[in-house]
C-alpha cells in the first residue's frame, strides 16, 4: 500500500527521478527560446528552482530589481546590463555581494551614473571577473580606471569612448590586470603612446588590441608588436601613426593575424611595409580609406604577408588596374576582397584579380560604378565558391549578367543587389542558391512578383529580405516568400506602395520575424499589424512611419502581444495619446519615434514617457519640447533617455507622401541632393 503510494508519488513527480545534470541538459535545449524557459519555470516550484539554478546569463530590464533577480539566480556568471541605463553604485555593490564569486562577465556599456566606488565593490567582490565592458562611460576618469585595476583576473576589457581616461588610468590597469587578453581602447582620445606602451610592456598575454582613433604615434607600436601572442591589432583612424615613426620598426610578430590600418591618413606604403615586415602570418588586412594609391608598388609591400593573407579590405582607396593584378598574383589564398567605394576599379582590374582567386568567398564591390556585366560574368566563371557578393549601385551591370551568377555560384549565401538592374530572370537564376540567407533587392525596379515567387520556392533558408522601394512587388510576391521562407527574420517592404494587409497576414506565418519595416506603405492597416503582433512573438523592431491607417488599436494589440519590442516608429501615423501610452506596457521598449503624429498631446506624451521605464531614445516633434514640463525632461534624461527633437515642416502631408512613393521622382530628388 505504502509502496504503491510512493510509486504514485513518483509518477506524479517524474522529474524527481532525474538528476539535476539531466534536467540541466533538458533546460539547455529549452533555453533556446526565452519564453519557453519562462513557461518552464512557472510550471511548479521545483521547476522554478531548477531553472534558477540553471541560468548562467542574465539580461535584466530594470536595475531596481537586481537584488531580487540576483537572489533568485545565484549562479549568474554573465550579467548584461545594457537594458539598464541607470546603474547606481548601490546596484553594483548588490551585484558584487550577491553574485560575486560566480560572476565572470559584466556589460555596463550602456549604463551610467555609477562611479569608482561602485566599480571598486565589483572589482573586489567579483574575484573571478574575467570580462568587463565599460564602453561609453564618457565621464569615467583615471580614478575609476585605477579601481578596475583591482580586478586582477580580468582578461577582456572594453573602454570604448572613455574620453576622460588618460595614460595614468591605463597605466594602472596595465599594472593591475596582468592577464588581459583583449583590450579595446577605441575612442579613448586621452590615451597616448605612454599608456599603450605600458600596456604592451606589462600585459604580455594580449591577444587583441583595439587602438582605433587614439592619438598614438608609431612609437608605442614598437612595444605592441613585441607581444608574443598578439593576434589582432586595430589602428583605425590613428592619424598620428605615420611613416616616419614606423621607419625603424622591425618586428617578428608572427602571431598577428588581423591588422586594421584603415583611415590612417598619414600611413603610406613606406610605413606599411615596415608594419607588415614581420607579420608573416597575417590573415586579414584592412586598409580602407588609406591615403595611398593601391598600385604596383603598393602591392609589392604585401610581398611578405602574401602567403597567408585571406582577406583584404581596400574600401575607398584609389585602386589601379596594375595594383589589383599584382594583388591577384601575389595573394593567391585570398578569400575575401572588399573594394567598396573604390570608384576607380575597372572591369579589367577586377577581372584580372578574380581570375587568380579561385578560392574567393566574399566580394564587396559596392558603388564600383564603372563595373559592367563583364566583371560579374568573370566573377561567376572564376569563383565557384563565392558565398557573399555585395554589389550595391553597380548600375552599369546588365541584367543578363545576373543570369550566370546563380548557375555558377551555387553556394551564395549573401547577396546585395540594391539599386541594380537585376530582373526576374536574374532572380530565377539566383533561386537555385539553396543556402541563400540574405537578399537585398532595394530599389530594383525591374523585379516583379514572378521573380520573387521563385526566390520563395527556392531559398527556404532566407533570413533577411530587403525590398525597399522595389515597387514592382505586390502581395502575391510577399505571400510566396512568407510561404517558402519560414525562417525569415528581417523584412523591409518600405515604400512598396501596393502592399496591403494581405502581405502582413501572410508574413505573420514567419514566426521568427524580428524586424519588420513597412515605412510608407499607405494601404496597411491595424488588422495586418494585429496579425503580425499576435503571431510573431519575437518582433523587436517595427517601423510604421508614414502608414496613415495605423492607429491606436494597432498599438494596443502590439502592447498586448509583442512584449519583446525594442524599437518602434509611429511617426506620421494616426496614433494618439491612447496608443502611445499603451506602449508603456512593453517592458523592454527602448526607442520611440513619434514625430508629426497629430493626435498626440503634450500630456499624453508625458504620460507615455514616464510609463516607458527603459526608454533610451525618444524622437519627438520640436514643438512638444516647450509643452512638455522641463522637469519631466530632466527626469527622463536622468533615467538615461536621450531626446531628439525633430522639426519637419510638411504642410501638405499627403502630397509629399505621394511624391515620395514614386521611385523615379524620388531618385531624381536624391541625385539632385547629391549634386548639391
Amino acid at each position: 500500500m505504502k509502496k504503491a503510494k510512493q510509486i504514485q508519488h513518483m509518477i506524479s513527480k517524474p522529474f524527481d527521478l532525474l538528476s539535476e545534470e539531466l534536467v540541466f541538459i533538458i533546460l539547455d535545449l529549452v533555453a533556446q527560446s526565452p519564453s519557453d524557459l519562462k513557461s518552464f519555470s512557472l510550471t511548479c516550484k521545483w521547476f522554478y528552482q531548477v531553472e534558477a539554478r540553471h541560468r548562467r546569463s542574465l539580461k535584466p530590464l530594470r536595475a531596481e530589481y537586481l537584488p531580487r533577480t540576483l537572489t533568485r539566480y545565484r549562479n549568474t556568471s554573465d550579467l548584461d546590463l545594457t537594458f539598464c541605463p541607470r546603474v547606481t553604485d548601490y546596484a553594483l555593490s548588490v551585484v558584487g555581494c550577491l553574485s560575486g564569486p560566480t560572476l565572470r562577465s559584466v556589460d555596463l556599456s550602456r549604463s551610467f551614473s555609477f562611479s569608482a566606488a561602485g566599480l571598486l565593490r565589483l572589482a573586489v567582490k567579483c574575484v573571478s571577473l574575467v570580462e568587463i565592458d565599460l564602453s561609453n562611460a564618457t565621464e569615467m576618469r583615471d580614478a575609476a580606471a585605477a579601481v578596475v585595476a583591482e580586478a586582477k583576473s580580468l582578461e577582456r576589457l572594453k573602454l570604448g569612448r572613455c574620453k576622460k581616461l588618460t595614460d595614468m588610468g591605463i597605466g594602472c590597469i596595465a599594472v593591475g590586470c596582468r592577464k588581459l587578453k583583449r583590450v579595446s581602447l577605441k575612442w579613448c582620445v586621452g590615451v597616448g603612446d605612454l599608456g599603450v606602451g605600458l600596456l604592451a610592456v606589462k600585459c604580455k598575454d594580449l591577444r587583441s588590441l583595439d587602438l582605433s582613433y587614439l592619438p598614438i604615434t608609431g612609437k608605442c607600436l614598437h612595444d605592441v608588436l613585441t607581444l608574443q601572442h598578439l593576434e589582432e591589432l586595430l589602428l583605425q583612424g590613428c592619424f598620428g601613426v605615420d611613416d616616419d615613426s614606423l621607419k625603424s620598426l622591425t618586428h617578428h610578430c608572427n602571431s598577428l593575424k588581423n591588422l586594421d590600418a584603415s583611415s590612417c591618413q598619414n600611413l603610406t606604403q613606406r610605413g606599411l611595409t615596415s608594419l607588415l615586415s614581420g607579420a608573416r602570418c597575417l590573415e586579414r588586412l584592412d586598409l580602407a580609406h588609406s591615403s595611398s594609391v593601391i598600385s604596383l608598388d603598393f602591392a609589392s609591400s604585401l610581398n611578405k604577408v602574401s602567403s597567408a593573407l585571406q582577406s583584404i579590405r581596400l574600401d575607398g582607396c584609389s585602386v589601379t588596374c596594375d595594383g589589383l593584378k599584382a594583388i591577384g598574383t601575389l595573394c593567391i589564398s585570398l578569400r575575401e576582397v572588399s573594394l567598396s567605394k573604390c570608384v576607380t576599379v575597372t572591369d579589367e582590374g577586377l577581372s584580372c584579380l578574380v581570375m587568380k582567386l579561385k578560392d574567393l568567398r566574399k566580394l564587396d564591390i559596392t558603388c564600383c560604378r564603372k563595373l559592367t556585366g563583364v566583371s560579374i560574368t568573370q566573377v561567376a566563371n572564376s569563383c565557384p565558391l563565392l558565398v557573399s557578393l555585395k554589389m550595391e549601385s553597380c548600375s552599369l551591370v546588365s541584367r543578363d549578367a545576373f543570369w550566370l551568377l546563380g548557375h555558377k555560384c551555387r553556394l551564395l549565401e549573401e547577396l546585395d543587389f540594391t539599386d541594380n538592374e537585376i530582373d526576374d530572370g536574374g532572380l530565377i537564376s539566383i533561386s537555385s542558391c539553396r543556402s541563400l540567407s540574405s537578399l537585398k533587392l532595394g530599389i530594383c525596379l525591374n523585379i516583379t512578383d514572378r521573380g520573387l515567387s521563385y526566390i520563395g520556392m527556392g531559398c527556404s533558408n532566407l533570413r533577411e529580405l530587403d525590398l525597399y522601394r522595389s515597387v514592382g512587388i505586390t502581395d502575391i510576391g510577399i505571400s510566396s516568400i512568407a510561404q517558402g521562407c519560414c525562417h525569415l527574420e528581417t523584412i523591409n517592404i518600405s515604400y512598396c506602395k501596393d502592399i496591403t494587409d494581405k502581405s502582413l497576414v501572410s508574413l505573420s506565418k514567419c514566426s521568427m520575424l524580428q524586424t519588420f519595416e513597412s515605412r510608407g506603405c499607405p494601404h496597411i492597416t491595424c488588422q495586418g499589424l494585429a496579425a503580425i503582433a499576435v503571431r510573431c512573438k519575437r518582433l523587436t523592431k517595427l517601423d510604421l512611419k508614414k502608414c496613415p491607417f495605423i492607429n491606436d488599436s494597432g498599438l494596443l494589440t502590439l502592447a498586448h502581444f509583442s512584449q519583446g519590442l525594442k524599437q518602434i516608429s509611429v511617426s506620421e501615423t494616426g496614433v494618439t495619446d491612447v496608443g502611445l501610452v499603451s506602449l508603456a506596457n512593453i517592458g523592454c521598449l527602448q526607442n520611440i519615434a513619434a514625430v508629426n503624429t497629430r493626435g498626440l498631446s503634450p500630456s499624453g506624451v508625458a504620460a507615455a514617457l514616464v510609463g516607458c521605464g527603459g526608454l533610451r531614445k525618444a524622437k519627438l516633434h520640436a514643438s512638444l519640447r516647450s509643452l512638455v514640463p522641463p522637469s519631466l525632461i530632466t527626469h527622463m534624461e536622468a533615467r538615461g533617455c536621450a531626446f531628439l527633437w525633430k522639426d519637419y515642416n510638411n504642410h501638405n502631408n499627403s502630397n509629399t507622401l505621394q511624391a515620395e512613393l514614386d521611385p523615379k521622382y524620388w531618385k531624381l530628388q536624391l541625385e539632385e541632393d547629391i549634386e548639391l
Partner: protein
Amino acid sequence: MEPEDDLCQNNWGGSSSSSSSKRREQVCFTSQHKWEDASILDYEMGMEEEPAFQENSNNNNGGQVNVDFLQGVRAQAWDPRTMLSNLSFMEEKIHELQDLVHLMVARNGQLQGRQEQLVAQQQQLITTDLTSIIIQLISTAGSLLPSVKHHNMSTAPGPFTGSALFPYPREANNLASQTLNNNTCEFDLPKPIVVEEEHEMKDEDDVEEGENLLPGSYEILQLEKEEILAPHTHFCTICGKGFKRDANLRMHMRGHGDEYKTPAALAKPNKEAVPGSEPMLIKRYSCPFPGCKRNKDHKKFQPLKTILCVKNHYKRTHCDKSFTCSRCHTKKFSVIADLKTHEKHCGKNKWLCSCGTTFSRKDKLFGHIALFQGHTPAIPLEETKPSAQKGSSACENSNNNNTGMVGFNLGSATNAIEEVAQPGFMDGKIRFEDSFSPLSFDTCNFGGFHEFPRPMFDDSESSFQMLISSACGFSPRNGGESVSNTSL
C-alpha cells in the same frame, strides 16, 4: 737605442726643468684644457700610429697613477709583427734624422752669419721628428708591458700620500719600464684623446662617467677631509681672514696697502699660462674617504675633475645631509646648491608613482613603471585608494631593505677582480641581472634606490641602463635620466 736617448735628453732636458717649476706654481685647475688643445695641434703631424698605441703612450706619461688594470690589459695586444714593423719604421726615421743632423753639423760653420730664424726652424723640425720617434718607441715598448707607471712626487702640490709603486704583480715589471720612465718622466706628451669641455661642477658625478682619461695620463691630488670641508680656501697672509674665492681675497688685499693695488697683484694669478709655452699635466683629484670609488686606492678608481667636484662629492656622499627642503620637508641635501635646485622644482613633480617617487615628466614615470614590478601610476587626489596605500608600504620596505642592494654591489666587485676585460665584464653584468627573476627583482626593492647615496650605483649605472634597454625596450638614455633625475 743609445743615440735616441741622448737626443731625447738633449732636446727636452732644458725645457723640462722650467716647465716642471712652472707647474708647481700653478693652482688654477681650469686652464689646463687650453693646454691640451694646443698640444693636439702641435702634435697632429706626428700621429701615425693607431689610437691604441696612443693610449699606451699616455700610460707612461703622467704622474702618480692608480692604474686601472683591466683597461691596460685590454688595450695591449702583443703582436710581434706589428712590433717588427714599428721597429723598422723607427730605424728608418732615426737614420733620416741622423742624416739631417749630420748635414746641419757640416754646414754649421757656413751658417754662422745666417739669421736666427732658420736655425729655429731647423730645431723645430728636428724636435718634431724626435718627438714622433720617441712616441713610437714608447708605444712599442708599451705594447710589451701590461702597464707602466711611475710617480712624480715633485709635481704634487697638495698633501700627497704616494701610493705603492706597483701594486699589481704584473706591473712589477722589468727594466724596460724603468728606463722608459727615465726617458719620459719630464715629458709632456700631448693627449689627443682628451677633449673634455668645461662642465658644470654640479654634474661631476654624472659626467665623469664619460671621461676617457686613461690611468697614468694625469696626476692625482688628494686633499684632506679638513681641507675639503673648510669654509675658506684663500687666506689673507697679513690678517689671516679666509675667503671662498681668490678674487675676493685679492679685493681684500687692497686694503693692506698700495702694493696690492697694482694691476699685476690684482690680476688672476694663472693668467700667464700662454698657449705657446709648454703644456702642463692634467690634474685629477682623489677623494680622501677610504673605500670610495673616487679614492685612488679603489680598484676601479674614477678621478674627480676639479676641487669643486671633490668638495661636492665629499659632501654629497660622505657627509650628513643637513639642508632640508623648506617646501616638502622630506628631501635633504648636503650641498646647498642641490637644495636650491631642488626647491626650484619641488612641487612641480606632479607625475607620481605608487612607490612615492615623483617625476617631472610623464614619460619618465612610465619608464619607471615599465621597469619595476608592482609599481603603478598614482592618480592624484586619491589618497584613499588602496593602491596608493600599498605603494607607500612598498616604499617603506624598500628603504629598509638594503641587503639586496649590497649583494648586488658585491657581485659586481667580484666580477672586477676576475680581471675580465671591460666589455665582457659588461656582458657578464647583464647576464647577472637578467638572471634576476622579475619576482626576486621585486623583492630586492630597487624602487627605493633613489634614496641611497649615489656612489653605490656608480658601479652599476651603465649596466643598469643596458638592462633597461634590453628588458623594456626603453632607450638607455631615458632610463639613466630617470635614475639621475631623482637623485639630484
